[in-house]
């Protein structure tokens, strides 16, 4: 056995070099970093501003003008847009003010989009995390079930459900139910994938060692770490829900009168497009604007939240 040639006195504590330890830049959290990246993305910021503006107008827009969205005025039907009459976007075939109806329809479209996204989020997170934490067999069965459900074309399921639910529930609730029935699947897949990836990491082991149970583990440790992909999925769910709603309303099985959404208004305007184009063009414009804004914001968020995707 060789003797250790070093003596205890050979080791001297290193004098701390204070200058080297100074942090020259403030530490940036993940979210701050993502936000900074998002700010640089002009298209995404444009999307964010458009969404903010449209939301603001959907809430406060109706304050302008002396009309409301449901009063009919048969003497002033199909008026062209003008400032003098205060019908900024004209009137429809029942003389209702299109400006007021647009904001009213916008509220309904946004409400449907947000509710569908929220329901998808809830179901997806619960289903996905249960699947990820279950035994291999249960996990397999749960994912096969999701596979089968998602192999049925989305709009076909939604249309069928709309027909089946019929008049038993309010048309807006009906759409939200129909949209959520398979809408949660992408979210569940993403949550499951993220959890499977994360749950082998050391911080999860540490949390377990400190006595965290599975529920705490999921909601306090795993979901917050999977937040990036979840948020991106939500921002892309909202426009697809709005699109699906408009699609259904356009087919005449969506929102029913007296309620109106941008899609049903576009459908109403379609037949009169030749003579009164504004009845079709304004709802179309606003649907497209909101879809555009959500899409570019979703893209921007994906680039900002997923550092691997960085250019």
């Amino acid at each position: 056995m060789q003797k250790n040639p070093h003596k205890a006195t050979d080791f001297q504590p290193l004098t701390k070099n204070k200058e080297l330890d100074v942090i020259s830049r403030p530490s940036v959290s993940f979210w701050k970093d993502a936000w900074r990246r998002l700010l640089k993305n002009k298209l995404a910021m444009a999307g964010l501003i458009i969404i903010a503006l449209l939301t603001f107008l959907a809430i406060f827009g109706p304050l302008y003008g002396s009309y409301d969205h449901r009063t009919t005025d048969l003497e002033n039907k199909n008026l062209a847009p003008s400032f003098e009459s205060q019908h900024l976007f004209g009137t429809d075939d029942l003389g209702r003010d299109m400006y007021q109806r647009i904001w009213y329809g916008m509220r309904i479209s946004l409400f449907i989009g947000l509710s569908a996204a929220l329901i998808d989020l809830t179901i997806g997170v619960i289903y996905g995390s249960i699947s990820a934490f279950s035994s291999r067999t249960t996990d397999n069965v749960m994912m096969r079930f999701a596979d089968i459900l998602s192999s049925i074309p989305y709009l076909l399921v939604v249309i069928l459900l709309m027909v089946v639910l019929g008049d038993s529930v309010n048309s807006i609730v009906r759409i939200i139910i129909a949209l959520s029935i398979t809408g949660w699947i992408p979210m569940a897949r993403i949550v499951r994938g993220q959890i499977l990836q994360l749950k082998e990491q050391e911080f999860v082991l540490a949390a377990r060692a400190l006595g965290a149970n599975t529920k705490r583990l999921i909601f306090k440790h795993l979901i917050p770490n999977a937040m990036g992909p979840i948020i991106v999925t939500i921002t892309l769910t909202i426009p697809s829900a709005i699109f699906a709603e408009a699609f259904l309303s356009f087919l005449g099985i969506g929102v029913e009168p007296p309620a109106a959404s941008l899609g049903s208004m576009a459908n109403d305007g379609l037949s009169a497009m030749r003579y009164f184009p504004w009845r079709m063009l304004f709802p179309a414009l606003f649907i497209s604007l909101i879809m555009f804004a959500c899409n570019v914001l979703g893209d921007g968020l994906r680039d900002a939240l997923d550092p691997k995707m960085r250019k």
Binding site: I148, I152, A246, L251, I253, L281
Partner: protein, 313 residues
């Protein structure tokens, strides 16, 4: 490979069984049936009609009968069009929809790839921005609105293309095909662009450049081929999109395709027709997705299709 195909085919049959059962019970769950809702007829006639449509039997017998008829490809008589069976309607409508769909498919693939390649070749320059903004617009304007806008500008305002109709001239197919193709074009353009950007960074592109290939040749012969692989995976959803998009586009342009039949059957509450078209659509889409997956394995030997491909981690 054979095991994989078998597994997939079994999955398709399970999916189809669930779809058929679900549509059947969903249709039965609707309060009342098509006969009660219309005008009142005498007791005897109603009995006769019920017997004709098999509505007088217990639910379970109806279900078994329905499964049997689907298995033998017989969807029964339509309730709205008395003289036609659902099979007739599908046989009449599908070729029209398929033609329109194929036209849109070719347009989307062609335009999408061209836009994507231009964007990638001029990365972060004006052509890139223009084609990507075009793509985002294509993704944002819903196809039914695009169809209506096309109709408004090109037919009503400019009068250069026919407003609606089918089967008289090729011009009639242009507007609906473009309206249907817009969304997939946008998605393909974006996919192509991002894949191209990735491929252009690869070492073999440097090799191609080093051995003196011109930019055009190296882009199209080496980069594009590899960049297109992931685009093929999108073909499945693309076909689904073109099919469902057909519902509204056919409605707007008055095209007598299957999509229009489906929409009318919903408005008419023509249950046998709704069920028949739903099952038919599902079969087409499931088979298409399978074909695309298999094709992907054939085209890209690096990808091993196997039973474990999709399920595991």
């Amino acid at each position: 490979m054979a095991k994989y195909i078998l597994q997939r085919v079994v999955m398709i049959f399970i999916s189809l069984f669930i779809i058929v059962s679900a549509t059947f019970f969903m249709m039965k769950a609707i309060p009342g049936d098509p006969l009660t809702s219309e005008r009142s007829v005498s007791e005897e006639i109603e009995q006769q009609l019920r017997a004709y449509y098999g509505l007088d039997e217990p639910l379970f017998i109806q279900y078994v009968k329905y499964l049997k008829s689907v298995a033998t490809w017989d969807f029964g008589p339509s309730m709205k069009y008395k003289a036609q069976t659902v099979n007739d309607i599908i046989n009449d409508g599908f070729p029209v929809s398929a033609l329109l769909g194929l036209e849109a498919l070719f347009l989307a693939i062609g335009m999408g790839i061209i836009l994507g390649v231009i964007a990638a070749m001029f990365h972060n320059k004006v052509p890139d921005y223009i084609s990507m903004i075009l793509a985002v617009i294509g993704m944002s304007v819903p196809n039914f609105l695009l169809a209506a806008l096309f109709q408004y500008y090109f037919s009503l305002k400019l009068g250069i293309l026919p407003t609606a109709g089918w089967g008289d001239s090729f011009e009639q197919t242009i507007l609906p095909a473009f309206a249907l193709a817009a969304l997939p074009t946008a998605v393909i353009a974006r996919l192509t662009r991002s894949n191209m950007l990735e491929v252009l960074q690869q070492d073999y592109m440097k090799t191609a450049k080093a051995k003196g290939l011109s930019r055009l040749v190296s882009t199209f012969k080496h980069a594009l081929r590899n960049a297109l692989l992931p685009v093929i995976t999108y073909l499945g959803p693309l076909i689904a999109g073109v099919v469902t998009g057909g519902f509204v586009v056919e409605k707007i342009f008055g095209i007598p395709g299957l999509g229009m039949q489906f929409v009318t059957s919903i408005n008419n509450r023509d249950y046998p027709l709704i069920m028949g078209t739903t099952v038919f659509y599902s079969i087409i889409l499931l088979v298409m997705v399978l074909i695309v997956d298999l094709l992907y394995g054939v085209i890209d030997p690096r990808i091993k299709v196997s039973g474990k491909g999709k399920g595991g981690e």
